[in-house]
Symmetry: C2
């Protein structure tokens, strides 16, 4: 036989697959990465970037646009000048970074959904941040509360999503109370850890209070129990704004998790060279981690990597590029240098859910997973460089995540799986389909896809030539229709609603963005 | 700053990028894989599969539907029974496999295009075998000679394609002379090594003769100079048909390269368990390699892996599945166990060039590259489980291959790339775009995409919302229009034409398929 003739053995049609079980395999709730991470840096190169980062922090310094943050840095022994520049001695940096835990576990309302970031554990989060939302039915538009809640429902449904991001920004809710409505939806529509924005101390406190009530924790218990997380991006290059500094301090004091992610786009906010962008990323991440540890020793922090490059012709940010993937591998080596959990992402710059969206996201995802990321943020739903949260992209990403979850499952080798007896029974030229060895494993032998259509061309064509994006649209709507909220103590919901009502009456929070 | 606000730094439009340079970077002609391969098997598991494969070959045996092949096996000491079963002693298998070279170099008409399969070298081939062809303009139809020649032109143009597969089957050329017309196009439209089908000794000899003339080799020189390659698929399970056996012997005697690829679809032609399918793949590959080495010690062979799974509900073959990816990693471990070059592929089961086509191909490609494949066949143009060669898929695959070629490039770390001075000059909150450090690297800092559109949503929408597949269609047509055939000695073309004319007059070849 020859490859050109393999079609002769192909099926002649094939029944339409029944839908995959809702949410997928229970073991997808916990990812363990069994692989030795891919490395692009020699040990010497890791040390060179480490040393250069410490030189950046001690000689150039970082501008800190926050009085309380500068006071904390100064109190810890940093050099703070009149130009708001903070310079950190290498020994001080390493002492403070050494206080950070190597692993962060976010408690979920359902303990089966607890999410550990550290070691070989991998946690997947949904997209967060986009002001726009899109689906095939209505096109691209401002994100709404309904869209936000739909992303909560998707996050709750699929087992490969471990924590909720922000989905999309519900622009139809007034900004002064928006954080409370999103937090309420997060804790009632999902039983998984969730994200809160750093939008000022009042808003952060409101959000924490809603999570605290939902989890039934005392204020003291809450401070030692991370149940949610935030992201602080430095204003690259080498600057931390007031809002982020306050958030870092607030989260540290509250004992809640935070990801310190420099936004180091090579060629724009960072050197055009990857080694330079990584050096700057490392310096900025360590500076933020230091602030958190100064505010409270042992504060749960994650080393955030987001280094990518711009299109040098237009200045547009690009994602899922070869440079992005290599930076993800390198970031893993740096985070492990400090024994810190690593955050990466799965972004794309594509403007629609096409082949580009899929291949760029794959490049990002392989970079994250094989680089040793412990937290993959923007793992589902990210489109258009992060400006849009897409319903169909979310579903396509779920398929890609489920496939990756299966790649991480062990390949079992024993007498039973080698199956010499099955080969003896079937013999040369036979077929394994009906053998006891096959029948015993029929149901669970292989990954059952969510979106992929494996039927032959004629059947696919005769049923409408529906492509992956349109299939994803259907799956999105079916998933939302079938959603059932997870159980929650009604007393806690009442308490949350009373809190939201009171704080709304008080005028909500003063929001900065 | 916070991730939800990063849009504020985004470009407001961006010029349309000029097309990428034709063919891409010269260094894409030679891929070196710098990574430590990903492994899914422990050393013990590799040995268990190895031992089980030898047990298959010595106890169950393989059915060989070829008198001359059985005679060769018997002469070498194998046990051959009346039922055409050949049983190979483990010591005999290992002795013969040990004769195979660890590396195969295919000479090209242009020495800059020589393709080495072995060590950390990676060679990419186009799709081969599909009877159908498709593009957006004409839809799916029988492959034609024009389509075949177009694939030759694409293969010649892009530096990430190192050897030509068969493209699509030119069904408008009579079968008895088709092999001569395809070989002639291969050697005149490309200067890269090419594929020939095993379709009987006459057709193989005709094809070899055309390659020999094109390369200006004597018959003796030709026998020691691999310039083309073929693929022999076993009729899994455990069977080698007459056509493949003849091809293996013909290629070995002619000193031309061959890939021994079992077609072990788990759950159909192989056990439903990956360990079982890999054991059977290994047994069948080793049996074919033994036959080649018996026919001529040192014959240039490649260990072929193609283990995937079927959809257990419909029987359809699936590609780019998690099982496929893990089998690719495991196959690398097995090939390295025997110090043999490894062939893998980049297939998908999708019926159109959509997100599924991209993510399944990415899963296959990462499996191949990070599994340590030395030859990635079906690297560009494969669609629909291999039944169709697609113009747009070819271009999208080129983009994915170019991105992977860049991932394999070293990340340079030195004082210059770390760029501390650039960070000092720019300072906190500044911008790197206009710095000397950036300007000096402006042109070559990052990968320039072929298909990807990184412009912002508004610009993309206002210029027609063209998705990746439609962009690929345009690039395909532009590439064909711009094609210039590489130089070739006109005397050799005359000699080839005279040969084709004579053999056509003689009736061409008796073709078996």
């Amino acid at each position: 036989m020859q490859e050109g003739r393999r079609r002769s053995r192909r099926d002649k049609g094939g029944a339409h697959r029944p839908p995959a079980p809702k949410g997928g395999k229970p073991y997808w709730r916990q990812w363990k990465n069994p692989f030795r991470c891919l490395e692009v840096l020699s040990e010497d190169h890791v040390e060179a970037i480490h040393e250069a980062s410490l030189t950046v922090l001690s000689e150039i310094g970082i501008r800190v646009l926050s009085d309380p943050a500068r006071a904390l840095y100064a109190e810890a022994g940093a050099d703070v000048d009149d130009d708001m520049m903070v310079r950190l001695d290498p020994a001080l940096v390493m002492e403070k970074v050494g206080l950070a835990p190597s692993s962060v576990t976010l408690q979920a309302r359902n303990p089966a959904c607890n999410a550990t970031m550290g070691g070989n554990n991998v946690v997947i989060g949904t997209v967060g941040g986009p002001p726009f939302y899109s689906d095939l039915d209505g096109g691209r538009r401002d994100g709404s509360f309904r869209d936000f809640e739909n992303f909560c429902k998707l996050a709750q449904t699929f087992n490969v999503i471990h924590v909720m991001g922000t989905g999309t920004e519900p622009q139809d809710i007034p900004i002064n109370v928006r954080h409370m409505h999103t937090a309420r939806s997060l804790v009632t529509l999902t039983e998984k850890p969730g994200f809160i924005f750093f939008r000022g101390t009042q808003a952060v406190a409101d959000s924490y209070e809603i999570f605290r009530i939902a989890h039934g924790l005392s204020e003291e218990e809450f401070r030692d129990t991370p149940v949610c997380y935030s992201v602080a991006n430095s204003n690259s290059p080498l600057q931390l704004d007031g809002l982020m500094c306050r958030g870092i301090i607030d989260a540290a004091v509250a004992g809640q998790a935070m990801v310190l992610t420099p936004f180091t786009l090579a060629g724009a906010m960072a050197p055009v060279t990857l080694a330079g962008a990584l050096t700057q990323q490392n310096a900025e991440a360590l500076a933020g981690i230091c602030l958190a540890q100064i505010a409270r020793a042992g504060a749960p922090v994650v080393y955030g990597s987001f280094t990518s490059n711009v299109d040098m012709r237009s200045g547009s940010p690009a994602f899922g590029t070869p440079e992005y993937t290599k930076a993800a591998f390198a970031s893993g080596q740096l985070a492990r240098r400090y024994n810190l959990p690593l955050r990466s992402s799965a972004p794309t710059a594509s403007n629609c859910v096409d082949a580009q969206a899929a291949y760029e996201t794959q490049m990002s995802l392989w970079g994250a997973i094989m680089g040793g990321a412990n937290f993959v943020l923007h793992g589902a739903g990210w489109l258009e460089g992060g400006l849009t949260a897409s319903a169909e992209k979310f579903i396509v990403d779920i398929e890609m995540l489920q496939m990756m979850a299966e790649v991480l499952q062990p390949l079992v080798v024993d007498d039973d799986t080698i199956g010499l007896d099955a080969m003896r029974d079937v013999g040369p030229g036979g077929h394994f389909f009906g053998t006891p060895h096959t029948i015993a494993r029929f149901e669970d032998a292989f990954y059952t896809p969510l979106v992929s259509d494996w039927r032959n061309f004629e059947t696919w064509r005769d049923t409408g030539s529906v492509d992956a994006t349109r299939r994803a649209n259907r799956i999105f709507k079916e998933t939302i229709m079938a959603f059932e909220a997870p159980p929650i103590d009604p007393g806690r919901v009442e308490e949350i609603d009373a809190f939201v009502a009171r704080r709304t009456e008080e005028g909500g929070a003063d929001i900065e963005r």
